[in-house]
C-alpha cells in the first residue's frame, strides 16, 4: 500500500497528551498540526469578517519596509534589461554549477500500478485477438478471447483503487471528464472498456452473436487507447526518463500488450483443446513473436537514444529480467517449445512494466539528469503560439 505504516508522529503526541490530566476550564491539547489539509478555522459568525480583515487589500498592497522613498528598487528597468538578465542565467545548454537538488518529487506509485498496466495490456491484446478471430470467422476462438479480455480487465479497477491515497474516494475519478489529463481519460477508458467487455461476454452467454461481435469490436477500438494511454501517462510527467521517451513509451507498451494478449490467448486455446495446427493458434504464435521482437528493438533504440538518462532503467533488475525473458522466449520459439515461449513473453511483459514504472523514482532523484534536461533546447520549449490573456487570472 501507498500509506506509511502506523500513526503519524503528531498523532502519537496528541494521544500521549490526551491521557494527561487537563486542568479545569482550559484546553491544553497540543497544537501539533493536521496533515493533508490547510487549517480549518471556524468563524464565530457565518460570513463575518475576521479580526484585522482589510476590505480593500490594505494589508496586501506593498511591503512596509521598502517604500518608494527607500533605495530598494529603481524607477524601472531599461528596455529588455530584465529579460536579458534572465536569459543569461537560464539560457545556454550546459549546467554552469554543481547542482544541488532535490529538483523533483519522485512518483509515489507502488507495485499496483505496473501490475494494472500489465493486466490492461493483456486485455487490450485479447480484444484485438477477438476482433481478428471474428474477422476470420473463428467464432470459438473469438468467444474465448472476449472472455479473456474480461478476465484480464477485471482486476484493473481494484488494483488502481488500492493504489489511491484515499481508496474510498475512487469514484471521484469519474467526477469530471478532462481530455487534458491522461489519468482522467484513462479512468474513463477503463470504465468504458470494462463495460463493453462485460457486455460482449454477456451477449455471448445469451446467444446473441451479432451483438457480441459489435461489442467486441468496440472493445478493441477502446483498446487502442487503453493499451497506449499508460505510456502517455508516464510520458506526460517531468520525470526525465519518462518524458524523454514520449515517442517510444506508448508503442513499447502497445507491443507488450499485443504480445501478452496473443500469448495468453494461444495458451488458452491450447488449454481448451484446440490442436497444434489450428490456423488461429499458429497466427497468434506469429503475432506474439513479432510484437515482442518489435518491443525489443524499440526498447534498444530508445535506450541508445537516451544515453545516460537510461541508467535508472538499465540498473533495474526487472528490466534485465524482461529483456532476457523476451530473448529466451524467442529462443524457445525457435526450439519449438511454444507454450514455454508464450509463458515467458507474458512474464517479460510484466517485468517490463514494473521496470519502467519503478525506474521513474530513480530518474526523478537524478538531479543531474533533471537539470540537464531542462537546459537542453528540446527540453522545455513549447512550440505553440501563446493565447493572449492567459497570464491573467480568469475573472469570475
Amino acid at each position: 500500500m501507498s500509506h506509511a505504516h502506523g500513526p503519524p508522529p503528531e498523532e502519537v503526541i496528541r494521544r500521549r497528551d490526551a491521557e494527561r490530566e487537563q486542568p479545569d476550564g482550559r484546553d491544553l491539547t497540543p497544537a501539533v498540526g493536521r496533515r493533508g489539509a490547510p487549517g480549518r478555522w471556524f468563524r464565530r459568525e457565518t460570513g463575518a469578517r475576521v479580526a484585522g480583515a482589510r476590505p480593500a487589500w490594505g494589508d496586501a498592497r506593498w511591503s512596509f519596509l521598502y517604500g518608494a522613498d527607500t533605495r530598494y528598487a529603481g524607477q524601472g528597468a531599461r528596455n529588455g534589461e530584465v529579460a536579458a538578465a534572465a536569459r543569461r542565467a537560464r539560457g545556454g545548454e550546459s549546467v554552469p554549477v554543481p547542482v544541488s537538488g532535490p529538483f523533483l518529487n519522485a512518483p509515489v506509485w507502488t507495485w499496483q500500478v505496473p501490475v494494472y498496466f500489465w493486466f490492461g495490456g493483456v486485455a487490450t491484446g485479447s480484444s484485438f485477438v477477438a476482433l481478428a478471430c471474428d474477422a476470420a470467422g473463428d467464432e470459438r476462438a473469438a468467444a474465448l478471447a472476449r472472455r479473456l479480455t474480461l478476465a484480464a480487465i477485471l482486476p484493473g479497477a481494484p488494483l488502481l483503487v488500492m493504489d489511491l491515497g484515499r481508496p474510498l474516494r475512487f469514484l471521484n475519478m469519474l467526477r469530471i471528464f478532462k481530455p487534458r489529463s491522461p489519468m482522467s481519460m484513462g479512468s474513463w477508458c477503463l470504465s468504458a472498456f470494462s463495460a463493453a467487455a462485460s457486455g460482449a461476454v454477456a451477449a455471448d452467454l445469451l446467444g446473441r452473436p451479432r451483438l457480441a461481435r459489435a461489442l467486441g469490436a468496440s472493445t478493441a477500438l477502446l483498446g487502442t487507447y487503453l493499451g497506449s494511454y499508460t505510456g502517455v501517462l508516464l510520458a506526460s510527467t517531468a520525470v526525465p526518463l519518462w518524458a524523454r521517451s514520449r515517442a517510444f513509451l506508448p508503442p513499447l507498451f502497445m507491443c507488450t500488450a499485443v504480445g501478452g494478449g496473443a500469448a495468453a490467448n494461444r495458451l488458452a486455446l491450447a488449454a481448451a483443446g484446440v490442436p497444434a495446427g489450428d490456423p488461429t493458434r499458429t497466427a497468434l504464435g506469429v503475432v506474439e513473436a513479432v510484437a515482442m521482437t518489435t518491443e525489443l528493438a524499440l526498447s534498444e533504440i530508445n535506450e541508445r537514444r537516451l544515453g545516460p538518462l537510461a541508467e535508472a532503467l538499465a540498473e533495474s533488475r526487472s528490466f534485465r529480467l524482461a529483456r532476457w525473458g523476451t530473448l529466451g522466449g524467442l529462443a524457445l520459439r525457435l526450439a519449438r517449445a511454444h507454450h514455454a515461449a508464450s509463458a515467458l513473453f507474458l512474464g517479460a511483459g510484466l517485468a517490463f512494466r514494473v521496470a519502467w514504472v519503478l525506474a521513474g523514482r530513480g530518474s526523478a532523484h537524478d538531479d543531474e539528469a533533471v537539470a540537464r534536461m531542462a537546459r537542453s533546447a528540446r527540453g522545455a520549449r513549447v512550440r505553440r503560439p501563446r493565447r493572449a490573456g492567459r497570464r491573467r487570472a480568469p475573472t469570475a
Partner: protein
C-alpha cells in the same frame, strides 16, 4: 458550513509572491508561520546530515515553505522556496478529479475534500512542489493562504518575513517592482541579479509565467530550480497520444491481418 463561505472580491486580481533572495537571512520564520497558520505537523529534525546547515530538507506535503540553503565558497545565500502557482500548472493539468483548481486570485489550490490521492500531480510538477502525504494519503501544497486572501490579509509567510524578502501583492505590481529591484542591483554592480519566473519575453517564460517568482543571483540549479520548465502535459501529451493511438491501430491491424492470412493459407 461557515468556513467555506466565499466573499468574492470584485474585480479579482492575480495575486502572487515576489521572493527576493538578496534580502533573505535564512531565519525560516516563513516556514514556522506557514506551519502555524495552516496547522501543519512539524518535520523530523535533520541535524547532522553532514552536508548542510539546512535542517528542514525540502518542500513536502506538510512543508509548504522551505528555505533552501546555498552554502559554498562563493558565499551563502538563502531562498525561501514555495509553490510557484504557475500559469501553465502541471499539477492542475494532471489532476483527474478536479481537486486542483484555479482560484479567483489566480492561484492553484488543492481541495482536500475532493483529492483521492491518485498521485499523478506529484511527478507532473516540474518544480518538485506538490507531494502526497504518506500518512494522510492526499496531495497537499501551498494555497497562497487562500483563507487569508478572502479576508484581504496577506499570506502568513509574507506577514512573518522580518526582512520582507517575501513580498505579497497583485502580480502585476510585484513584477514591476521586482524589475526595478533588478535594475537597482545592476546599477550597484550586482550584474548577476535576475528574475526567475517573471519579466521574460513571450515564449521564454517558465511554465507560462510564475505566480510566485524569485530574484536570484546564482544559476537556478544552485537552488534546485530547473533552467526551463513547462507543464509536462502541455509539452508531451499530444505527441505521446498521437504516437500511442497510431501504434494501437497498427497493432490491431497486424493482429487481424496475421489471423486472416493464416486462415486463408489453410483453405
Amino acid at each position: 458550513m461557515a468556513e467555506i463561505a466565499v466573499h468574492r472580491r470584485e474585480p479579482t486580481q492575480r495575486m502572487g509572491f515576489f521572493t527576493d533572495t538578496t534580502t533573505c537571512i535564512g531565519c525560516k520564520a516563513c516556514e514556522v508561520a506557514c506551519k502555524q497558520w495552516n496547522d501543519l505537523p512539524a518535520d523530523e529534525l535533520r541535524i547532522g546530515q553532514g552536508r548542510s546547515y539546512d535542517y528542514t530538507g525540502a518542500l513536502s506535503a506538510s512543508t509548504w515553505r522551505h528555505v533552501r540553503f546555498a552554502e559554498d565558497d562563493a558565499g551563502w545565500s538563502f531562498m525561501s522556496d514555495v509553490c510557484k502557482h504557475c500559469t501553465h500548472a502541471g499539477c492542475l493539468d494532471a489532476c483527474p478529479t478536479g481537486a486542483l483548481v484555479r482560484t479567483e486570485f489566480g492561484t492553484v489550490v488543492v481541495q482536500p475534500d475532493v483529492c483521492n490521492g491518485c498521485g499523478y500531480c506529484v511527478p507532473s510538477c516540474p518544480f518538485g512542489v506538490i507531494n502526497r502525504d504518506p500518512y494522510d494519503g492526499r496531495a497537499a501544497k501551498c494555497t497562497l493562504c487562500y483563507d487569508r486572501l478572502e479576508d484581504g490579509l496577506e499570506p502568513a509567510c509574507a506577514k512573518a518575513c522580518p526582512t520582507d524578502s517575501i513580498q505579497f501583492g497583485p502580480l502585476d505590481d510585484l513584477v514591476e517592482r521586482a524589475q526595478g529591484r533588478v535594475a537597482q542591483l545592476h546599477e550597484r554592480g550586482r550584474e548577476d541579479a535576475y528574475l526567475y519566473g517573471a519579466g521574460d519575453d513571450p515564449g521564454e517564460e517558465l511554465a507560462g509565467g510564475l505566480g510566485a517568482f524569485f530574484l536570484l543571483t546564482r544559476p537556478p540549479e544552485r537552488y534546485g530550480l530547473p533552467a526551463q520548465a513547462e507543464s509536462p502535459i502541455q509539452q508531451n501529451m499530444l505527441t505521446a497520444t498521437a504516437v500511442g493511438l497510431t501504434a494501437g491501430f497498427a497493432a490491431a491491424a497486424v493482429t487481424v491481418a496475421s489471423v486472416l492470412a493464416s486462415h486463408r493459407r489453410r483453405r
